[in-house]
Amino acid sequence: MSRIKTCFDRLKKEGRGALLPYLEAFDPDRETSLALLRQMPEAGADLIEVGVPFSDPSADGPTIQLAARRGLKAGATLKGTLELIQDFRRENDHTPIILMGYYNPIDSYGVERFCKDARSAGVDGLIVVDLPPEESEELAPHARAEGLDMITLTAPTTPDDRLKTILRKASGFVYHVSITGITGTRSATEEQLKAAMTRLRAATDLPVVAGFGISTPEQARTASRISDGAVVASAIIKEMAATYDEHGHATARSIPTALEKIRSLARAVRS
């Protein structure tokens, strides 16, 4: 069984939603992001999203834009990100890893080779922000062949009939972008999220996680109760980035700060 399915089955038994923290690969350097990645599960990450830095992250707000820029400056590539995950897998064989990014680096790598390499590095799922179902047939067959889940994104703007069609092909879990907007800006209200979940539950039996605009433990608790999990990205990156020195380099406080943020989110999700 896939790590993703095993994870959500276990959480269902525990009666709680998942915490999915996000980490931008190579932010601000390879060593720091690998060390953080390794310690995230123990701090309470149920699944981890690893962001692949891209030069033009048009769906991201300032926090992730800056993280991507630092990552690229530190030499991040898609290949380098897969190697990072491979290193992580030497010590951890159970925490699902979802690769999140934009399509061009994958397209450039070659979709078939990418899916093979991602699978052997230990990736479990793919979120490709700018590859909607209309275009995903370029990648989906190769992902399927390697047992990688192509995570479907839904949005408040997705009409009901479209939800049904796009979720028919979904696997792993569904990622609901809970606001119309970019990452790290505004947040959805409880009512909005509840209304969205009603629509989503009617369209799919897969677990549904909520993301975009979740930053406090309180918001993470609410989101993980209404849906099946909360994705937190910008809030963690922002607190960690505040510890960098004036050259943008990591300091002794960087990893502990990120882990403390993840712990506080995890406590809220579990309470």
Binding site: F54, S55, D56, P57, S58, A59, D60, G61, Q65, L72, T77, L78, K79, Y102, Y103, N104, P105, I106, D107, S108, Y109, V129, D130, L131, P132, E134, E135, L153, T154, A155, P156, T157, T158, P159, R162, I166, V177, T180, G181, I182, T185, R186
Partner: protein
């Protein structure tokens, strides 16, 4: 008089693209986040509707004629032609449109569509500021909120246009990400749109972006080629021996090329900005130095590194300073229908001065790239041959830049 093509050539027409999913060969498509996808489908539906609505066409024709100032003349540039001693050069005078460039043709079409869709807030990206000015202009005309995203570098080198947009009531947001040029402005405009989908219309300024933008912008710009094709036949009795246009995203070029695509014996030339030279690493020539990839909603030739990261473009002309090109051009390149060539910053500066001195027309630096290629080509052709150059805009906005390059302090 226009020559009617025999029906057989219509069957193999190059003018029928894209397919229903927005693909031109391997290029184009709709690579956008799910939040935007339903909007793209809605926009496509709305556009397909107005395309065949005679009332919309009538309304558009009215504004093109009485507000934009169409048709634009086709000017036989005799002194320039004589000086070069070769082909006769004709200038399609898009710089005479209201606001000084071809940009208003597209903006007029899209603003009428946005109004029909009930949108009250307009966002747009701009490079040279010509598209921003055109957009701010129609927003003033129709009383709509207008937000323009412009790279910080471009804000600096196109100050006159920035002030014009302010005067017109638009809010100009300088974008500091990346190199602060058109690519970054495009990213930021998309971010604004995603966050304000309810009331906002994204008025794309070139034949790029997700489907249906490349096709829609081309259709609105095709008025250039439709007029030019008739005018050249009226003036010379036949079709031209070459059509030349500069390429940023490719809208003025697509606009003039499209009505000629099925005239198989009319060679078409798209002039990319070579910047400091094709191999200088400081270029904007995405076809000459790029490879296909996905950016800003479509697959097309892009300047990118071996890892699929988009690299910065460079051109003296802000309007050509873009690492991509519209997907229909990429397809026309793949099938070999259009020749893609380039002109350097220096060639454009020379052409800028030559045209100004010989014809009394100050071209935009963008358009000067097309003039530069005409100068190269004309002397290799005979005096009874003709070239049409799309003079996409006028150069007032570039006077400070040119002065700086010539070492003149204003």
């Amino acid at each position: 008089m226009p020559v009617n093509k025999p029906i057989t050539s219509q069957l193999n027409s190059l003018r029928t693209g894209p397919d229903e999913r927005g693909h031109f060969g391997i290029h184009g498509g709709r690579f956008v986040a799910e939040t935007l996808m339903p909007l793209m489908l809605e926009l496509e539906k709305a556009y397909n509707h107005v395309k065949t609505d005679p009332q919309f066409q009538e309304e558009l024709d009215y504004y093109l004629r009485h507000y934009v100032g169409r048709p634009s003349p086709l000017w036989h540039a005799r002194r320039l032609s004589e000086t070069l001693g070769g082909a006769q050069i004709y200038l399609k005078r898009e710089e005479l449109n209201h606001t000084g460039s071809h940009k208003l043709n597209n903006v007029m079409g899209q603003i009428l569509l946005a109004r029909r869709m009930g949108k009250t807030r307009i966002v747009a990206e701009t490079g040279a500021g010509q598209h921003g000015v055109a957009t701010a202009t129609v927003c003033a005309l129709f009383g709509l909120d207008c937000e323009i995203y412009m790279g910080a570098t471009d804000v600096e080198r196109q100050k006159p246009n920035v002030f014009r947009m302010h005067l017109l009531g638009a809010k100009v947001h300088p974008v500091t990400a990346g190199a602060g040029t058109l690519k970054d402005a495009m990213n930021e405009a998309m971010r604004d749109w995603v966050a304000n989908v309810e009331n906002t219309y994204f008025l794309v300024g070139t034949v790029a972006g997700p489907h249906p933008y490349p096709a829609m912008v081309r259709d609105f710009q095709s008025v250039i080629g439709t007029e030019a094709r008739e005018q050249i036949q009226e003036q010379t009795g036949r079709l031209p021996d070459a059509v030349i246009a500069a390429i940023g995203g490719g809208s003025n070029a697509m606009g003039i090329f499209h009505p000629f695509l099925d005239d198989a014996d009319v060679p078409l030339y798209g002039v990319e900005a070579a910047g400091l030279g094709l191999d200088s690493g400081k270029t904007a020539a995405s076809i000459a130095r790029g490879r296909p990839g996905v950016l800003h909603g479509n697959r097309t030739y892009l300047l990118q590194d071996e890892h699929g990261q988009i690299t910065e473009a460079h051109s003296i002309s802000a309007g050509l300073d873009y690492p991509g090109i519209g997907p229909e051009h990429s397809w026309l390149k793949d099938i070999g229908r259009v020749n893609y060539v380039s002109a350097t910053d220096d060639q454009a500066l020379d052409a800028f001065q030559t045209l100004t001195r010989l014809e009394g027309i100050i071209p935009a630096l963008e358009s000067a790239h097309a003039v530069a290629h005409a100068i190269v080509m004309a002397s290799t052709m005979t005096r009874d041959q003709t070239i049409i150059v799309n003079l996409s805009g006028r150069g007032d906005k570039d006077v400070p830049t040119v002065a700086a390059h010539l070492g003149v302090k204003l």
